[in-house]
Amino acid sequence: MELVSQLVLIAVSAAIINNFVLHYFVGICPFLGVSRRVDMAFGMGCAVTFVISVAALLSWLCTEYILRPGAPLTSWLTGNPEADLSILNYIVYIFVIASSVQLVEMYLRKFFPPLYKSFGVFLPLITTNCAILFACLEIMKHVSIGAGAGAWGGGGGEKWGLAAAMVLAIAGGVGFTIAIVIMAGIREDLDHCDVPKPLQGAGITLLVAGILALAFMGFSGVDSNLKKAISPQDPPAATATTPGDPTEGDPSP
């Protein structure tokens, strides 16, 4: 039960509340570049979700068993429980991400040639998509240090297992897909609007992205209430309302 509620919190938090694109502003490049049509945006979202999942799986395995300070394999081989290979973190993550992007590229080229064509340069650019590296680094943070987990609703302190890492990655990918598809829908409608000349193109896109991010700010605070609602322990905290909680709303209006 403890684990399930943690996973639910991580999932909701990663997908909606702390959306990678609209809260952390990572992965902006495809978010602006491939959000012209809804079908393309959905394809890009799926590709990113796949890459992020593969990268998270492999980077969790590497971090947990080899890279983190005091990892089992490292300390057994060196005979030193403090042995630390975390300098390899970034290079391993980038390696893993680049390889899985290659895999996606081959797969798309074979089975979805029109999608492959319409992606153009943005498909190999997933390699440098910071949303994916961001997910890997979050996982690294929670596996090796096990602290500062507040942002993902799971509370601080506890170390993440493989399940938590995978949930963060997949939910993060889903959140990216949600954001980019909403953006593409708005931009498709924008094509029929009379946009002032100086704002046409990138200008109006960035404005819309900013307003969308503002809208997603409205979700902030949902996680703490959700946590109260689904965690069975600590009954007084579950019933009490925190004063000044943004989601409680003011009863007076």
Binding site: T74, L77, A83, L85, I87, L88, V96, M106, Y107
Partner: protein, 304 residues
């Protein structure tokens, strides 16, 4: 211990590399896409200017279109005849005789010869000036703000004394200038010989009206049409040259027309012929000025 750590780091990367190499190698076989090898060959035969003169986005798109559909092989204006022949050989088709298309500006009046010009202080672009009335008297002729100049990626068209002038040595015939001209006075002409006769005016009005706006505009006197049937007048007052009938070997009548034209609006454009170059060989023409750029790095020591 340090050695073990180093070995472990290397071993980790090696193992990851081997794993990913294996997976990608398998994927390369499993997801192999058969690409027509001719596309690559065609791509190499094309000049790679990516100018879009063929109507496709770039050389790569054109190569695919040529191989996969029945697109003509002679669309590349940059590569010209030899490129079309190379493509035809790769694809095993025969190419019909094609001419290189080069732009011809249908206006011959410099600033001094255009009348009723006003001091236009708006955005210095033909596209903008064209929608404002009264920038100059002639509503057909060159505006001289250099939209064609800026559209050219080959530095082959320049606005000299307010008149767009093509540099036929540099021009490759991509047609960007003729597409960008808001008055449509740049047309693509099949150059059957190095110098072609074109009508250097586009004013369709009657002679009296043309006189009012231009010192050198075509009056529509039809003297050229009487001399040669290459020039035809439809319902406008400007001769049209039928380039299908244009035969570089039978130019006698056309030469007469050129001589008869009172405004000298029938002009030969193109590269200078060998005869012309010989003709001016004795004259004291200024040599080509070599640019002499000085470095911007200042090596002098500062003794302040």
């Amino acid at each position: 211990m340090t050695l073990v750590l180093i070995m472990l780091a290397a071993g980790t990367m090696l193992a990851l590399g081997a794993l990913m190499g294996y997976v990608l190698g398998w994927a390369n076989k499993a997801f192999h896409v058969v690409v027509d090898p001719r596309i690559e060959q065609v791509n190499e035969a094309l000049p790679g200017a990516n100018c879009g003169g063929c109507g496709f986005v770039g050389c790569g798109e054109y190569a695919e279109a040529v191989v996969e559909s029945d697109t003509a092989v002679d669309l590349c204006t940059v590569g010209g005849e030899s490129c079309a022949a190379a493509l035809a050989e790769i694809l095993g088709v025969t190419v019909e005789q094609s001419w290189p298309f080069r732009p011809a500006v249908h206006c011959g009046a410099t600033y001094a010869e255009r009348l009723k010009r006003s001091d236009y202080r708006g955005e210095q672009q033909c596209a903008t000036a064209n929608i404002v009335s009264g920038v100059q008297g002639c509503t057909y002729g060159c505006l001289g703000f250099g939209d064609c100049d800026r559209s050219c990626t080959f530095d082959a068209i320049h606005t000299i004394d307010g008149l767009a002038t093509v540099d036929y040595d540099k021009c490759v015939g991509c047609g960007a200038c003729s597409k960008v001209c808001p008055r449509n006075i740049i047309s693509m002409v099949p150059f059957k010989i190095e110098q072609m006769v074109v009508v250097a005016c586009a004013n369709e009005d009657f002679g009296k009206d043309v006189k009012g706006v231009c010192k050198v505009g075509c009056l529509g006197c039809k003297a050229c049409a009487r001399a040669s049937d290459l020039f035809t007048f439809t319902d406008t007052n400007i001769p049209v040259i039928d380039y299908d009938k244009y035969d570089p070997d039978q130019m006698d009548e056309v030469e007469v027309a050129l001589a008869k034209c009172p405004m000298k609006r029938l002009a030969k454009v193109g590269k200078p012929s060998d005869k012309d170059i010989e003709g001016v060989a004795g004259e004291d023409a200024p040599g080509v000025v070599q640019v002499d750029f000085k470095t911007t790095v200042d090596d002098t020591e500062w003794h302040g």
